[in-house]
Symmetry: C2
Subunit: 107 residues, 2 copies
């Protein structure tokens, strides 16, 4: 059984305090044991035709779909999701079992 | 210097032969030494309001932005990109230096 990832691609509102949100998310994730790992990043391509205005990616990995469900329905996640959703202009969220087609040499 | 990821989120056309494209992509990536690792996945949430119709995620990792540039401009990638773009209904592509906020226990 492989990992399942919860991936959010986001465009923040112009007045959003992105640093506060990043901090809140890192804190939340560090406290939620069912989150196996968490990485994020900010687009550096700046190619609007490709990014469609999306600027940030957040990727949470879980050991099982049960862990993902438990995270999604957790009170603290729901609380944070409210703050998060209020700060964004648009978002796409997908959940997918990870297929490793070319493993990292370090793995 | 951390990894840089090239992430594509895709909705395929209804008549696209997705298996052929996945096979083509895996073959391409396996032959391109500058691609450090490659993973992909298919959404299992089926929540249209969140996925916005996007169904697949493709994530390529590179050791440096130079490697990403060298991949993007490579003849074989450009050739494949033509086939890929012809098969998709919509796509978002972002490139981002990876910030590991919570490392995987296995790492």
């Amino acid at each position: 059984m492989g990992e399942i990832k919860h991936l959010c691609m986001v465009k923040f509102k112009e007045d959003a305090v992105v640093d506060d949100i990043l901090q809140g998310m890192s804190k939340l994730v560090s406290e939620m044991d069912m989150v196996k790992s968490f990485e994020w990043g900010k687009d550096v391509s700046n190619q609007d035709m490709l990014t469609q205005g999306f600027t940030h990616v957040f990727s949470l990995a879980f050991a099982s779909s049960e862990d993902l469900t438990s995270y999604m329905s957790h009170e603290r996640h729901l609380e944070f999701a409210g703050t998060f959703m209020a700060a964004i202009d648009k978002v796409v969220v997908v959940d997918f079992p990870v297929v490793v087609a070319k493993p990292s040499p370090a793995a």
